[in-house]
């Protein structure tokens, strides 16, 4: 199945109400039919260029669904790139794409430079209105979208998602045309993130109006929710934090908002509780997924949130910090280092399998094992009821004196301390232990946390070997645009400090 079939089906459903807006992006408003016509013309522009790949450097909005479907109808893969990268960083990635046509927003033209075949986003849109349409039907096993991983721990990898990967995720998790008339989704995740790609496909398939916010700002987000009658939205943790802060300081309610999904990286529990308290009538959804799995593979539903919050049983209450249960079509397995499968409650590496799972990288090939399992490199465990708990990247594991320590275990405790706003626990080089545990803490405003108090707080709840050797304070944690903490930066900083002569 090609992703263009999703648009064809959406068109069929929209024919009952042809005037209904499907995409809102500032002044641009498109019906499903208009989007489809533009995608046909856009496919013509791409086909006429003879490009083997389409790259997009820009802030997204309506350009994202347009380029996804135009590329699909030209049967050419598309790659939205991180427009925040430096010129060098951007070109290094463009050089890895085969003979791309680069569609670029004006403000990033200089960064892209003269070395590629480029077309401005506005010009692409204009040409798409008049171009001779093309309408190929991509092979289901052909690559539809290539996304670069964020590269927070290593060189970015180019993940190849086939049409079959993407469409099986959509048709397996989204009920076709299930949105109520008037439903609207606010999309503020960046176009180069898998959540941006999946949002463009899933909301269209559900028949939900897509409202784009290209540059996140909490006040604008609140205003758009009110103005466009937004009923669902997805945010990353840093966005959730800012939205909650804005709403706590002002007397505003969001009466139409029904679901608020969060994901992209781990959300600290105190923030989840604040948000649940602030929006008692909103259903919260924690979505966990990876680029390599075509977005979401596990979901903690609104009911799960309510049950966990109301639970007296510690095991049930703990599920508020889980990512819920696997979506249909996804199998999960937690494995020990020797490859055997862990029992309930026992942490190991998370492996997943299903049609939406790619596990294939350009120049590297498939990393699936013989039975089709993908190693996520995330440390995880399943509880007795099959709820999945994610303990962070296995690369982030601290090895102190031969003992493996998952930073998340310590972070989950520390972030509950009343003086801690945010924290990250990392391993710094140490001549005696190999690595030592360093807690990097952002204090809550107006507090001056005491180092020994923080250490004993951890010691009172976890084994002694989990007590941070050092605690350092910062005004904020370095993060990327989707809220992932740049642990490598923290480690480099700490290692550089210890190497300086005293």
């Amino acid at each position: 199945m090609s992703i263009s079939l999703l648009l064809e089906m959406a068109q069929e459903a929209a024919s009952a109400d042809p005037g209904r807006t499907a995409v809102v992006d500032d002044d641009i408003r498109l019906t499903t039919e208009e989007l489809s016509t533009l995608a046909d013309g856009g496919a013509g522009v791409i086909a006429a260029s003879d490009a083997r790949h389409v790259a997009y450097v820009g802030t997204g909005g309506a350009m994202l669904p347009l380029l996804l479907f135009a590329s699909a109808r030209a049967a050419v893969p598309v790659t939205p790139l991180n427009y925040r990268l430096s010129a060098d960083g951007l070109r290094a990635l463009l050089d890895r794409l085969p003979d791309p046509l680069v569609v670029v927003d004006d403000e990033y033209r200089d960064a892209v430079g003269e070395g590629y075949r480029t077309i401005g986003s506005a010009e692409f849109l204009e040409s798409a209105r008049t171009a001779e349409p093309a309408a190929e039907f991509a092979d289901p096993d052909a690559v539809g979208v290539v996304l670069f991983t964020s590269g927070t721990t290593s060189k970015p990898k180019a993940v190849e998602l086939t049409h079959a990967n993407l469409t099986s995720y959509i048709t397996g998790t989204v009920e076709f045309a299930s949105a109520e008339p008037g439903d609207a989704a606010l999309i503020c995740v960046p176009p180069y993130h898998i959540a941006g790609v999946s949002a463009a496909l899933s909301n269209l398939y559900a028949g939900r109006k897509m409202v784009y916010l290209r540059h996140f700002d909490a006040d604008k987000w609140v205003q758009l929710v009110l103005d466009e009658g937004v009923t669902s939205a997805t945010v990353v943790p840093t966005m959730l934090d800012r939205i909650v802060t804005v709403l706590e300081s002002r007397d505003i309610t969001l009466p139409r908002l029904r679901t608020l999904a969060y994901g992209g990286s781990k959300v600290a529990l105190p923030l989840v509780r604040r948000a649940l308290e602030l929006f008692p009538d909103v259903g919260f959804v924690n979505a966990y997924g990876l680029t390599e799995t075509s977005s979401t593979i596990a979901v903690l539903t609104p009911d799960d949130h309510r049950d966990a919050l109301a639970a007296d049983d510690p095991a049930a209450a703990r599920r508020l910090g889980s990512v819920g249960r696997p979506v249909p079509g996804i199998e999960v397995e937690i494995r020990r280092e020797d490859g055997t499968v862990c029992g309930a409650g026992e942490p190991g590496e998370l492996f997943v399998r299903g049609e939406q799972v790619s596990g294939k990288y350009t120049d590297i090939g498939s990393v699936l094992d013989e039975q089709g399992w993908f190693p996520t490199k995330d440390v995880a465990f399943l509880d007795e009821q099959g709820y999945l708990f994610i303990g962070g990247r296995s690369d982030d594991t601290i090895i102190r004196g031969g003992e493996n320590i998952a930073p998340a275990e310590i972070e989950d405790v520390l972030v509950e301390h009343p003086h801690v706003r945010e924290c990250a626990v990392v391993g710094a080089d140490d001549p005696e232990w190999g690595q030592i545990i360093v807690a990097v803490v952002v204090p809550r405003s107006g507090t001056e946390p005491d180092i020994e108090d923080l250490r004993s707080y951890v010691r009172s709840q976890l084994r002694g070997s989990r007590t941070p050797d050092r605690v350092v304070f910062r005004h904020e944690l370095p993060t990327n645009a989707t809220g992932k903490v740049l642990r490598r930066d923290l480690v480099d900083e700490l290692n550089a400090q210890t190497k300086e002569p005293a």
Partner: protein, 100 residues
């Protein structure tokens, strides 16, 4: 066995489907009583819909048999989907909340 992702059309109504999960049973997949053919293939115009197989298909719904076969209706039509003379059943999906 027919390949996952294969698109088929009815010869006697508007129904189109895509194979989500293949099984041997799909070799005898019918719509409105007549065998389904690949999209774009020749339809036998002498065929007519079987009145006892005309309960219709619903757009965007998935239909399954008891051997694990699953198809998704990409265009609705008047005919009933069946394996031989046994109708497929509508797969009731527990809706997930919007997550992206």
């Amino acid at each position: 066995m027919i390949k996952n992702g294969t698109r088929l059309q009815s010869q006697v109504c508007d129904t189109q489907v895509i194979v989500v999960r293949s099984a041997d049973s799909l070799d005898d997949l019918r719509a409105g009583g007549a065998p389904m053919v690949p999209i774009g293939g020749e339809a036998d115009t002498s065929l007519t819909i079987d009145d006892s197989m005309s309960d219709g298909t619903l757009m965007g719904k998935r239909y399954v048999d008891d051997t694990g076969a699953e198809v998704l209706v990409t265009k609705a039509g008047k005919g009933t989907l069946s394996i031989g003379s046994t109708p497929l059943s509508l797969k009731e999906a527990k809706p997930l909340p919007a997550s992206d």
